[in-house]
Symmetry: C2
Subunit: 192 residues, 2 copies
Amino acid sequence: MASDKLINRTNVHVALLHYPVLNKSGETIVSAVTPMDLHDISRAVRTYGVDQFFVVTPLKDQQKLVRSVIDHWIQGYGATYNPTRRKALETVRLTDTLESVKLEIRSLDRVAPRVVVTSSREHPASISFETLGGMLDDDKPHLLVFGTAWGLAPEVIQEADYCLRPIRGRTAYNHLSVRSAATVVLDRLLGC
Amino acid sequence: MASDKLINRTNVHVALLHYPVLNKSGETIVSAVTPMDLHDISRAVRTYGVDQFFVVTPLKDQQKLVRSVIDHWIQGYGATYNPTRRKALETVRLTDTLESVKLEIRSLDRVAPRVVVTSSREHPASISFETLGGMLDDDKPHLLVFGTAWGLAPEVIQEADYCLRPIRGRTAYNHLSVRSAATVVLDRLLGC
């Protein structure tokens, strides 16, 4: 719809990383893709007017799984059964590495994105939602990076331009699903 | 943790309805339970300091499914594998009908709850998040009701005390998963 296009934030991109992420013991792993993540985050991405949702995994069998989900809902039976899922999953870009995501955005937007990682843990020098909201007002592209499993590996956080402050509820419990957390981050930044 | 308790909003309760809800064609149905809803919404409920998450289904086989998920994570292998899931799923109360939920809250809090339904569609006389946030400051219990499938049946909306305004992103697309939508509603009302 034309009216959708007009209010899209084309300078915000979302990436969901399956490598390098941590397991329960704090070791770096490649996590398996959870199809529900693809559905829920693509629906949020579409709702909040973000153009591209990069699903990042280096594993060929996991890429095949992502493609089969997308094909079912974009070209297969799912596309006619539920066109709103198609519209959401059309935002997905399957990519090998975070580096490739940055290169793709750079080639598309002609400038490197500000890389903003998210975490459920406090990090020194993390920025507030208000600060990031203000930064979005310029034309520079921004890449919001979410980690699966037990979160992004430390090197991804260290190499990022910014780390966003964790979502806090009213308790010390901080274990939202990445699906819910990504939606809340987009709502805080782009919701009405 | 004691510090969790201190900031809990014990006057907010959440219910997820599987009946009466609508299917794609607008007919009233009983929907099947999606285990991911139990995980994600209980994690949000725990994060935002809500005490009780009522999962409402009249179907015995679906209640059995809910019990098997809860048992696995509260008493079974899952409890030691991932204690944070246990802490989340401990908030779940399995209930037959919305009426029973209201009676249970009434018996617990000694006063009937204000019933606040949620919808992805605009309804006349719906209230804003700010208005509801202000209402939460008194001691009266509030029950936030979410519908699965294609949303709550009209009679649930008509009989409620209040209908909350839909979550809006930046586009006309309004198809968040109920898991994500419930988390965003709690974040808007109770997030920090």
